[in-house]
Subunit: 306 residues, 4 copies
Amino acid sequence: MNASTPATASNATLAGSAEITGHPMVLSLSCKNSRGIVHAVSGALLSVQGDITDSKQFDSPDTGTFFMRVEFTTPESREAVEAALEPVREEFAMDLGLWEASRKTRTLVMCSKDGRTLNDLLFQQRAGTLSVEIPVIVSNHLELQPMAFFYGIPFIHIPVAKDAEGNSNKAEAEAKLLDLVAEYDIELVVLARYMQILSDDLCRKLEGKAINIHHSFLPSFKGARPYHQAHERGVKLIGATAHYVTADLDEGPIIEQQVQRVTHAQSAREFVIRGREVEGSTLSRAVKWHAEHRVLLDGKRTVVFD
Amino acid sequence: MNASTPATASNATLAGSAEITGHPMVLSLSCKNSRGIVHAVSGALLSVQGDITDSKQFDSPDTGTFFMRVEFTTPESREAVEAALEPVREEFAMDLGLWEASRKTRTLVMCSKDGRTLNDLLFQQRAGTLSVEIPVIVSNHLELQPMAFFYGIPFIHIPVAKDAEGNSNKAEAEAKLLDLVAEYDIELVVLARYMQILSDDLCRKLEGKAINIHHSFLPSFKGARPYHQAHERGVKLIGATAHYVTADLDEGPIIEQQVQRVTHAQSAREFVIRGREVEGSTLSRAVKWHAEHRVLLDGKRTVVFD
Amino acid sequence: MNASTPATASNATLAGSAEITGHPMVLSLSCKNSRGIVHAVSGALLSVQGDITDSKQFDSPDTGTFFMRVEFTTPESREAVEAALEPVREEFAMDLGLWEASRKTRTLVMCSKDGRTLNDLLFQQRAGTLSVEIPVIVSNHLELQPMAFFYGIPFIHIPVAKDAEGNSNKAEAEAKLLDLVAEYDIELVVLARYMQILSDDLCRKLEGKAINIHHSFLPSFKGARPYHQAHERGVKLIGATAHYVTADLDEGPIIEQQVQRVTHAQSAREFVIRGREVEGSTLSRAVKWHAEHRVLLDGKRTVVFD
Amino acid sequence: MNASTPATASNATLAGSAEITGHPMVLSLSCKNSRGIVHAVSGALLSVQGDITDSKQFDSPDTGTFFMRVEFTTPESREAVEAALEPVREEFAMDLGLWEASRKTRTLVMCSKDGRTLNDLLFQQRAGTLSVEIPVIVSNHLELQPMAFFYGIPFIHIPVAKDAEGNSNKAEAEAKLLDLVAEYDIELVVLARYMQILSDDLCRKLEGKAINIHHSFLPSFKGARPYHQAHERGVKLIGATAHYVTADLDEGPIIEQQVQRVTHAQSAREFVIRGREVEGSTLSRAVKWHAEHRVLLDGKRTVVFD
């Protein structure tokens, strides 16, 4: 949800004085930890009649970095708020993001043949329970095109293949993808079981802007057929991991992990089926948090203000 | 753990300038929501060279109440910090609590015959994973006295019974308990499966200072033999609820709930055994949060800043 | 999954001798507990060269009823197996069911306006991860018709309303439903958030053949707006319950229950959103078990051989 | 629990005819899968008036092995039952175990300095919720001796150290352990965070008779300081794995796994604390299942009939 909704509601209950009839915004920032940050930020917000409805902070002992996410309402314009924060941003050399809370994250979804996770994402974005808009879907296969049609979203087929000489068209395919990212003003790329490995170059270009669902419980069982590896190993829990894409395959910062119980009586195929379930909800959760600007990067780890 | 530990560590990593070698403190407050609270609080902390290491807020849409918990380090004394906060407390008419983070909550544990939850609590407090000290244990039975001895904690037997005329000594028993609360400067009373129902009067006197573990999943299956009720109903999950004690039996604000999976193949007795497990960890979790000043009251609900 | 798949596979690995190239079947039975049942059943199966691949039993201490589910492969026809079992069925006065494991349960889904759980069911039945076929969908509203079209399933609109005189057409609506149940040879009716209360008469007619998802954690928070009740109560876990429909509203035998963690920071609306998630997977799980003949009735409880 | 309890109860409810007033026994077996096994076993039990109260089977597709566990009551002696089963055992070349259900597994617990898991085990065995008796505790340190005294269990200190020349006394230490295993008729050795690595030779001698708790989520984060590895990796779930000891360190067959949620805000130390919790309940669960003869080996995997 957009957490500022209830806050607005609450303020309304407080005999809504004029200034509280503002619009909800989200601020997230990180900088080297030092004293006075909170005071400076809250002061800047106060200067634009900002009413803080939710705020979370974390001071990372490992990196000495300070993280903060603030939801607030203000009658002032986005520009005015930005201007008020600028001196603070400068003083503390902050990485700072500022968004209208109601604004949805423009998201490109990449998929292949398995529709389970795509289906979860599309249903939720249409139901309005996921703060994303999905202007375009990309796939290297055609199987899921009807689902895209059903949800009224353009589906672009970018096949990846090798020719007779064994030369892959991967480079062109990735170039096309980047064109789409630019053309559609994409802020987030979600790999909903897109089974191709992205080039290091593409991973770098999408750093912090692409989320992958790993169909197993990282850091174990990396690579191919993890459920079959897990089944062979006789694990009693299987899981899924949603993480940011990095050049280092399957080593990106983890956003969310979930597990499901399994038993000896279930086949590897059943592991896969149960795995799909948990993959879908794990990826949706991660996309939701990212789209609500709740995920910040702390070195190789994530700070999740859920 | 005491969450300010890592923060201190982190500060240490920040090339510890003199003022950061302070002592960790915890501040929690609630007041009617309005603008400028965060700025005022952070300003007061800044004035005592407070370095905020963790801070969480919540603005309750249902009650219009603002809640805040701050961990910070300061080189100043507790008194100095209190003085710096006083004008803020007054301006916003705050309920405000201020503690040394390292200070343990003085806790009196009441038990009866079943030692599982008592055992969990005593082990953890001795292991130092629970920020409580337990100066005295009270029971209406003698079964658990050896455990108290093992942990070197005074065990006081306050039997509750009816005499020949059917007059109960409950009133005197509760009076004795209150004497102990006063004598030992008790800040928290934990009912670790103390099977007696407290009088409304005692509940009121301990309001917000007594935690009970309900051996079932509130609000269902209240009252006697809940696991047997649950077994009869054929539930697939059983749970436990840790809540503050109120005059309204089993209706106190919920602090923590946990569940465990059960099947048709398990007897009511097995439900009880599995229930004990989840009771122990649920109560320990609730006591831990309370002792770290993470639990605030929002009407009939709790705000848990974990 | 159809648990006999791996078994067949395994048998294949055992240098498939002729008799093992049979077809997988499922047998489920219950009767008053007495000695010799297992021997009699296994003897009957042996007489049709049945190869038991999975078998589970339960002897209910509460009702004195014996329950058994057997998966086996046989080269003989369904009729031959039935004939072989007939004397056993008679001797022990068994309730007995016998199915081809590959046969899908003919299921009618009823829905209203919220598509989340319907979407889960339809996707899974098409993906083949749910052993049901859905020949028809019934709704008292039109919102979900496009989804039915997408999955290529007939959608029948049976509005339920009151006329000017306040007379409801509920009786006719339920009559129509029963006609459809007959017309389409329906074995299972799934109420995927169909928000109408069925008449006692209909409930009785569908006894053991209709599954409902209760959008909360039975037995607590029955009736209307349970998530809002839960939110008001400040619970830390919300859940969903899939149960058989009985005349006694929300009191039917429980098949499956699942929970999700919530916090003070989430609004009642967010409770609903998270609730939908858990409802979908809880209902799918219950339908899957029922369709695989894993659920037997033990008085007001269920025996689930998962 | 001892699953035969409810069964007996149930039989009692069945107007206990003479033959049912027997004693509960547990039979577990495995053999190459073929037809007629169930019929043969049930026939043998019938011949000793065995009343089957619970029975579970599994036919492993991966190894072609058939597994079965039966709980039954019989008026006949253990010897009589064994004799009745002998021909069946021979015919199918079965690995077969037969126990009085009420008989507790003689267990030796090894520990080091951390008492959390030991405390769980000792409390539960005394509470009677774990079907084990613990005649002796072994440790390479003295820290936990008081706990052993409290529970009235002999505590034997077998230090493991290197002398001035760097020669370890490990060989003698392990020899002493094996002497104790023989002296006390030990059937199960539980490594309750015994931090020494056992020699391959000892592992082989204890194969299938020793359970270890791995303080992390296998197969990831093997070896030293797994929680710190996990913290560094930024995982969102930590877990514990209880497995049989094999020469291949941390690669033994997995019996049980459990997880706990963690966040960025928790330090590695807090990971350890939460980890201890889940370790304790994971190990107890595994020991409980083993002691109730619910765990069978299927190659490198376990079949758990819980």
